[in-house]
Subunit: 353 residues, 4 copies
């Protein structure tokens, strides 16, 4: 099989680098083009990019010449699809331009996530929302399309909520996050801000979790996603951890759900995509740990190659009259680059790309 | 006025050192004796103690000879009262022995906190619980008595809950803590456990918060403390922060309480002790910050000389149909040494010592 | 006495904030004006400045309107002198303009430090280099003048070298620094770069130490500073510490110097300024600790209100046939804001301002 | 080939765990027995051991019953050889007993390292010192023997010195280390000691480096190791880094050695063992990085599976009239478990075990 040729938009940042690392070894996809801002355009990737991941820059991308993120450059190459890790302030304009003229855009950037006709995909949770794509193309009169990956905390959260939602129903959710510094990009959190400290606020993050979660878990019906009808309350904090977002979750369920029930349904949970043999798909989307002091970011953030979410301390919640637990996911893999590539795999398997 | 002579039980540990530092400059109290375990007994304080606080060991305690924590040694000196920072595995036996023969024990250690006739005091919150002392002495046929300071997280939490409870009533509380490493004592958390990491579990801590909070906020009536009738759910985590416990709190109130109401009642809140001019009493027990990213442990942990609790981000909680906020308190001062000394001041002012 | 009116150039950054904090309580000086870049100009100081120091912004500077750093604005006010914490890329041009027309500039920024007629002052070490000022004014035909504070690591280092140089002579110096993140400014070191890590390189720093040290310790003779004739080798690293630069120093002395000799001459060392009763002058410029594990940044960085350097582990050096030791200084106080103000005090006392 | 059966002495600690992880996948060796102190004896390995490495405890060691570290237990099983990760206070007595009755002991513990007839092996550097083994057995009238791995910092240091010594000769060495907390064992460094701090002292470490380095680099002649005749000066510090020891090294060479010469001889350096195809032998013992800010502990500590040392910033040293550079090695792999296993491989290949 010929590999699909991918163009990575915004390939020099932290999420872009993870995408590139995962693509280099990908059985279905290959990197065709890497774009970045003007100041990087024209440079070789190894010069344009301060490589932040373990090991060296992969051999075969070092010499790729980075191009400016504009329509003309990208269209010339006719990539089979695009992966976008663009910063949120530039993403919307260029992604729309690209989709209009026929490009298939799988985007990790935040604008348009809540647009009604834009699927917000976490493949184990709502693979069927891809059905919106045709409606989107029709309505917008676009040759191509845009699908979005949710915010990193939402991706981790919704994966753990899905099995509970399906078996017991959910009335309310409370989540307190402790998010790693890598979630803000390489230079996002100064060391002076976070050494020996916690910052109890992340711009726009709580709103993203509260709105995106409802959409991701929502039901698609007649080209509309009906968000779940549950109260969600999020408090987001930044902690001195490099990788891995921890979330303390409490759920009020519709049907009574004992901790042992929750453990059981999380452990056996598989999405449809687990049967599709998608290359990036973890065998177990949720790994349940029984030790009283797990999950921990440093110990658990690479489970399932960073694509599994690790859940522990599943207990009764006296306040919510439901259950509570701790979830831990890799914000850059499951929460960003990995989920985007998993979406692309799903779209390929379902003939959208 | 002659100063009251204090014996510090367990004076070489982290809490004991804070007590000693605060006593050295105290206008009412003076250090009469310092006890510790056998291996320290007979040494000078400066030799027995690895001093962990800023600056040098206070001049006038360096030469004090540490004695073994036993009844005979302590009774010989006839101190006016005792401050106990003993480890929980040895505290109960010796504290009971001491109280029996007439000593007045103000203890920060955990055993007996939930005993029905033992006041668990957070002076701004429940100063009137001192009335139990006489009942305790009668019932137990003790010459002296024991009063306890609550667990550090409970002390911080109950201080912020008290004004809400008084004005709006409380039906349910959910709290997620991010506790500093100093809460476990100097050698309690190995650096290999916590650098670039979070540990989502602290032994017995959640149970302490859930039970002690109800007692501290409870009503004293006919020599019984009736705990408040509210569901409490606690999740406790350890974070790579040196000092200061952060707590993410959600409250379901009985009467409707808007964020602005909560701000108002917290800002104006004063305990009875604020009028008594107790030396360790902070002017404002609760300081409300309006910035969206406060409180932060490193920036706010010494507010009110470590005796105030700083609250921020007071917002509506969609899930609890009430309010939520972030609280930050100094676990070693407000949460341990400081509250113990404040209790002693209250007892002195009310003629119990 | 009327206080001298100071204009702080670049007053919103980390060094500028320290200057302002120290000036607010200063007995001789008062803040007359604060400048910053265009984007801050016109704002109140509390709006222009993300305050990074403990406690609140001092009451009486909050409302000061920040002005753009240009000649006209500054000259209008006729300040008695200027303290500059300008970034190095803009400092040179404006500082020269100001000196030309009569302003007296005490600058912490790096350009021109090695200019032959510019005093590079560490007051305990080379107060007499102020004599260059008149020569500078004549040669350059300036109405005012510029004097410079050395690089932070150099200030700390030269203070500890001075007593050894005077009594035993120095042939060679080797220094390995472990510098705190605050040395790079608030946003200088991303947390992703330094958590669980060390960066063994700081741009231009090694060269600064090697050249500035020779000048600071040099002899002034006939309007020329003759640098000391000693080999200097510096290796600079960045470590995950908030404040305080640690330096591992080895010295080859001319005369034999035993560790006990070095201890003695460091402990008794006083500069001329110690007799002048300058307000910011520490009682002991060098504090020698005898414990085997001191100095430590977190424990010792505020000695002498951050103006003393703490030295420990003074031992024989087998390799250099001399002595070696550990030095620790507060990079923002002794190494930047504090030394600049100390220079201004010296200049005032010697009638230069 | 049947695998050699290994007994791991002290297999539950941090070094022991690394040995076990490396043995589980070893092509020549297999774990026959794991010993520990009395409190672990009788338990399954998974119960006796708080597993600290990434991933789970290897499947096939979980169920192994840990035995007490005593002669009788060990002798019963007749292992082919022993790997010792015993704490230094118990190692000497039991290791001698074992060697006496015929056991072959490869030990990472510190006692006896400087004994004249005990080889102190860093295989790329002094594989020929194994010739002492026969002399040792004769002299001591032992059936078995003991060989030692050097202290972690010495192992890393001597590997980088060897090529320089061979080609240019060495007159003096100065080394400043920044050692990770894992070097002190899991609970060795409390988080309260090291967060936002550096400790400029490690018990006995400087003496170990100064004496062991001379022996490892020494020449074997007529059953005597003649240490190299070079001054060595070490200063050791503890830094808030999890894994990886960094060393700032300056060398005075006998023959002139330019940085480019040093780079060349380090890059081409191979020990005899590199030709023997030992399984744990890194392809390149020394990896030279050209970037100005490398090596860094977090980025480089797993080079060559943790068995290579990464060297960077090779420059002239003005003070030592030689060269200086930064070295970084994995203290638990190259510096402890890995080098011990590499020694065992060498001994097997040369028919000592």
């Amino acid at each position: 099989m010929d590999k699909l040729r991918v163009c990575v938009l915004g390939g020099t940042g932290l999420v872009g680098q993870h995408m590139i690392k995962m693509l280099v070894e990908h059985p279905w996809f290959e990197i065709d083009m890497i774009t970045a801002s003007k100041k990087s355009a024209g440079k070789k990737y190894e010069e344009a990019c301060k490589w932040l991941l373990d090991g060296e820059i992969p051999e075969n991308v070092r010499e790729i010449t980075v191009v400016n993120t504009d329509l003309e450059n990208i269209s010339k190459n006719k990539p089979d699809f695009l992966l976008s890790a663009l910063p949120s302030d530039v993403a919307e304009e260029i992604e729309i331009k690209l989709a209009k003229v026929g490009h298939k855009v799988v985007s990790n950037s935040s604008p348009m996530r809540m647009d009604e006709d834009i699927p917000l995909l976490n493949p184990e949770v709502n693979a069927n929302h891809t059905e919106l794509i045709n409606f989107q193309k029709e309505t917008r009169k676009w040759e191509g399309f845009i699908v979005k990956a949710p915010n990193c905390s939402t991706t981790i959260l919704t994966l753990t909520l899905k099995p509970i939602l399906d078996e017991y129903g959910i009335k309310a959710i409370s989540v307190v996050t402790m998010q790693s510094v890598s979630g803000a990009g390489y230079a996002g959190v100064p060391s002076m801000a976070i050494i020996d400290n916690i910052i109890p606020y992340i711009t726009k993050e709580e709103n993203k979790i509260e709105t995106e979660t409802r959409k991701v878990l929502g039901k698609l019906k007649e080209n509309k996603i009906k968000p779940i009808n549950a109260f969600i309350s999020a408090t987001c904090t930044r902690v001195p951890v490099l990788y891995g977002h921890m979330e303390v979750v409490s759920i009020k369920t519709k049907e009574e759900c004992e901790p042992k029930d929750a453990i059981k349904c999380m452990e056996k949970f598989r999405g449809k995509i687990q049967k599709m043999k998608l290359p990036t798909c973890p065998e177990k989307p949720i790994i349940v740990r029984k030790e009283e002091d797990r999950p921990q970011p440093r110990l658990d953030r690479y489970e399932g190659k960073g694509m599994s979410v690790v859940v522990g301390r599943i207990r009764k919640c006296k306040t919510m009259k439901g259950i509570k637990y701790i979830a831990l996911g890799n914000n850059l893999i499951r929460g960003a680059a990995g989920v985007s590539i998993l979406i692309a795999e799903l779209l390929h398997k379902t003939n959208h790309i």
